[in-house]
Subunit: 210 residues, 3 copies
């Protein structure tokens, strides 16, 4: 196993845990736990690859089935223990976000997409799995919540990778540097409770909207 | 920029505004506003292109990122003003519906799909974005509402384009004529409050269904 | 029409009826009934084919538009009668599940997917349509319900087909045998009220999860 594959599988695992935990909280069965773990872990990459016209990585390589299975088993056996680890889990999730937004953008650029589309596909890779998890579990997507800043670091990272590519800088050193920035921003946003502006400016009252 | 591209971008913009307005009403953040604007504006075309095995138009051409951004900014700055324009917005939305159902059907026919599949993909282009908007925002899709007739004009238009194609008539004159018919039907359906039959015949009582 | 196509269309019809019945119960219009019938009947196969990079079967062959239309018409005219047939419908649905999970796995194997991915795509073909139906109708997917065992027989059948393929056994005799096993398991699970373990082990209390 190569180093990048190891990192990717780790990202899939940490994303997968959030899917299995949601299944646990909602009283779903173990099938739902497995499916939500898989969807959260590899869903973003599947959407990216389908749009790029490639066979999704996760279907080309059976290793990708291991992390969601482990996530579902972990939650089955020690769900409350996993719940109590909420804070470390958020840190690992931030690492997944950072790795997926850079690797997704790079893959799209290498396949010849324009920088805007590549950055969008990088963001899709990073946040698409969590979005699918919430949509399939029939709840309002967490990334729309103004109290948390989840997608913004990924958008910045993907944009930065695309801009560096246009300027002629690419390679794993730049990728790692950008991933480190995304990770730092995400962790800081949690620590300092940064939030995102709402869809309407603060000068509007809610009442005006209905 | 060619004339058809201009029209297409306008359609994306008007569809996008409905996505951003929904984000505003639901209290989502600006990321949700952008994502729902993009999904509503270009989601139908993405589904069509993925099924056709093509790289989605919106990813091949960075211009498509401008209208959803404008829609999100417009709603951020003047949401209540946009809300008050509900009636003119519905007219513009009808124009988008008319253009997307004809252009979507024609694209599928040109790529060699059979007339039934092409018409279905034309309808998908026209109503798919709004459907994705509602599914992702976790609400019952508006196109299922029996009090409004939204998909039917698009189905008629797509079917008409496919029938004309089979009969040997194609070209922008026919497309424009069909689009005008779809637009007129949609606006009339709003003015005259036409509605669609329910999924069960009127001779059944609701109680019998549970 | 070949025999396999006939079976496939029957499966699409029975799945489609469940989509139209849901539209009826939820008070949707006839457009929603048609769309949910189509999505339930052919949605799983579309997702499979999009991931495989093929033009979806249902779009290549106009016959596939007939069963969802018949399902929507049937529910429109005799919905309460259809409701009363709940038990026979579940048996037909089990037949669809059995046929779709074997045919989906075989198609993926023939197109060169690895056995794990092929089995997953077989399960997707079998349960994907029902999942899409529930997601689009904005309700919690039925396959996550621990009181019913729906996906497990399909997972066993798809895994068995893939294992037989690896061991060198393929052909319609094996497919039919596995489909018969899946069908029997599904019908037995209904008769004997088998259920699936929850996402968390029984030694955890619900309270610990929030």
């Amino acid at each position: 196993m190569t180093m990048p594959l190891m990192f990717d599988l780790l990202g899939v695992f940490f994303f997968g845990v959030s899917g299995s935990l949601l299944a646990a909280r909602r009283g779903f069965d173990i099938v739902g736990s497995l499916l939500l773990a898989g969807l959260t872990g590899i869903g973003g990459g599947i959407v990216r690859d389908v749009i790029l016209g490639e066979v999704p990585t996760a279907f080309a390589n059976p290793y990708y089935f291991v992390p969601p299975t482990l996530a579902a088993l972990l939650v089955y056996f020690v769900a409350p223990g996993v719940q109590r680890l909420k804070r470390p889990l958020l840190v690992f999730d931030a690492a997944g976000l950072a790795l997926f937004c850079t690797s997704g953008t790079v893959k799209a650029l290498e396949l010849g997409m324009n920088p805007f589309a590549a950055a969008l596909l990088g963001v899709t890779t990073a946040v698409g799995g969590g979005l699918l998890r919430d949509v399939v579990a029939n709840q309002t997507p967490a990334i729309f919540d103004p109290r948390d800043m989840y997608a913004v670091p990924a958008m910045m990272g993907a944009g930065l990778i695309a801009a560096l590519w246009v300027a002629g800088f690419s390679g794993w050193v730049w990728e790692l540097a950008v991933a480190a920035i995304v990770f730092t921003l995400r962790v800081l946003s949690l620590k300092l409770r940064w939030h995102v502006p709402k869809a309407v400016g603060p000068w509007h009252r809610e009442a005006e909207l209905n």
